[in-house]
């Protein structure tokens, strides 16, 4: 048998109070892949990520990390396989950014001890890569939403897991920082790591992700390369918005542009 995939999901369903929030989701992620989850608001993107780390208990289906069933892993073992970044970068107490990033190493430190010097060194390396060194000594409560997201991204990288699950990590970032984060993610995935990332911006998703999962109404509508998934008809149907999907004249990557004067309707 070939090497097991980093993440293997089959028949995943999640029901809450008789509402079917996820229905028969099948996903497989191989080492080195950067996969985007797209879909309209309320489609189930966040729910899917939360089920994948067992924060929400799946009602049905199988989730495997590196061939190991999720329900057989302890919390500690799971956190060695997969790291997760929630949609809202919460900050309730004035920890410094460096302290927040260090928390990412807490789980693996309990297994392999890490000296404070080495820990600080690792924090500095990641902070330098993400260009957030000036933030390190500042209080997380005083940072802007975008700065907090970058700190949380650094915290997730500190966990040193083969797979990252990120829930809209760039929702508060400007175009410069978003591109920076996505490029960092791409080079991270080039080293046999993988990431599954929920995104709202379809152009960003098309530019950086090799593969997209299109979710709507809790179902996996389409999956594949961006040009296969992002069709004008499909986006119009599920987002209720007419768009133009066209390759960029210079870079050749897909861009998704809204057409004005069409109305968004909430179901």
């Amino acid at each position: 048998m070939s090497q097991p995939s980093l993440l293997h999901v089959s028949g995943l369903s999640y029901r809450l109070h008789s509402r079917q929030l996820l229905d028969d989701i099948n996903v497989e992620i191989q080492p080195g892949e950067l996969v985007g989850i797209i879909g309209p608001n309320g489609a189930g993107k966040s729910t899917l990520l939360k089920c994948l780390i067992d924060f929400l208990p799946a009602s049905d289906g199988q989730i495997r990390y590196n061939g190991k069933a999720l329900h057989e892993l302890t919390h500690q073992q799971r956190a060695l396989e997969v790291a997760y970044m929630a949609q809202h970068p919460e900050a309730s107490f004035p920890f410094s950014a460096a302290e927040v990033i260090a928390l990412g190493a807490e789980n693996r430190r309990q297994i392999t001890p890490l000296s404070p010097q080495l820990l600080n060194q690792q924090i500095t390396v990641i902070a330098r890569e993400l260009q957030i060194e000036p933030l390190l000594q500042r209080k997380i409560t005083e940072l802007s939403g975008g700065e907090r997201q970058l700190v949380h991204f650094a915290r997730v990288l500190m966990q040193q897991t083969p797979l990252l699950l990120l829930d809209e990590p760039s929702s508060n970032l400007d175009i410069g920082h978003e591109t920076w984060l996505m490029q960092r993610l791409k080079s991270h995935c080039a080293k046999a790591n993988s990431a599954l990332i929920a995104l709202h911006n379809l152009t960003t998703a098309a530019t950086f992700c090799e593969r997209l999962l299109f979710i709507a109404g809790g179902r996996l509508i389409a999956s594949g390369k961006p040009e296969q998934v992002l069709t004008e008809a499909r986006i119009a149907e599920h987002y209720h918005q007419q768009v133009i999907v066209a390759p960029h004249p210079v870079t050749g990557t897909l861009t998704v542009m809204p057409v004005q004067n069409t109305n968004v309707r909430f179901k």
């Binding site: 809450l16 924060f55 929630a86 919460e90 309730s92 920890f95 928390l103 789980n107």
Partner: protein, 349 residues
Amino acid sequence: MLNVDRLPRSIRLSLGIFAVLLLLLAYLSFGAIQLPVAEILQVLKLTLSGSFEQAQQAYPKTAAILVHIRLPRAIAAMLTGAALALAGACMQGLFRNPLASPDILGVSAGSSLGAVIAITTGMSLIHPLMIPLFSITGALLTAGLVYLIALRTASQRQLLFLILTGLALSSLLNGAVSATLLMARQYEISQFIFWTMGGLEGRLWPHVLWPAPFLLVIGLISLRQSTALNLITLGEENAHGMGLNVKQHRQKTLLLSASLTALAISIGGPIGFIGLMVPHLVRLIIGPDHRKLLPIAAITGSCFVLLADLLGRCLLAPHEIKVGIITSVIGGSYFIYLIARIQKQGATL
């Protein structure tokens, strides 16, 4: 000005221990009857080396007051202060709210009902430990009930439902307390009202010796929650992602904090504001890292109650002001100061 942060750790630690010992010595020395410090040290030395009788012969008055009255009361003050502050620090961390109090699970209301039952049934006359016993039973039963009701909600919303259920049950129990008092005799009502003020007068060895081992063990286990509490400050989802068993940690922390609070109330009655104010103040000074916050809050809490009770014994000596009154006055003033500070400098809570 001397910057304490710059001093080496060992010096800071020694300074802290020295200050605590100084405060303890002051507590033992001052009061309605002043005991000379030299005699206190002599008596302590002799008692600790096992010859209390010799100390009694040499300094009969000092030995009697010190060993039978002030020492158990000092330990009662330190235990209650440490327990309440530690419970408060844990609850503030768990609820990710710097103004959460250890009382969220309705522990105070439960212990009040326990106390009022002990008083009105005449049980408190049978044995002096009946009020503590009834109050701790009431407190733990209430906390358990609040938790069982809140447990029925989905994990993500449990914290909110804990607060709501705690409020609801507290209100019910306070109603029951009032109803019981309506039928009580005048002296029973006074006894209960004095109990609710929170006080340490008349606390002797039996009052502190039975809860002490529980408090020590539960306190030490609580200190071990510090890393988990640090993770939880980033939100339950993120903490779960970092490998924390959020549900189990929540249960553990609630149980530990409720037990600490219940034990503290059983010693000193419901002494107000410590669980809320001390951890908050300590966090402002040393930062939010629970690995430092929990132990330092516990020590500060014990010093704070010691100091408040010392003031209460000395301000109007030979009359006493109950320690709960002193902590309420200090606590209220602290919050007015906080409000002024935030309005002026735009600082956060």
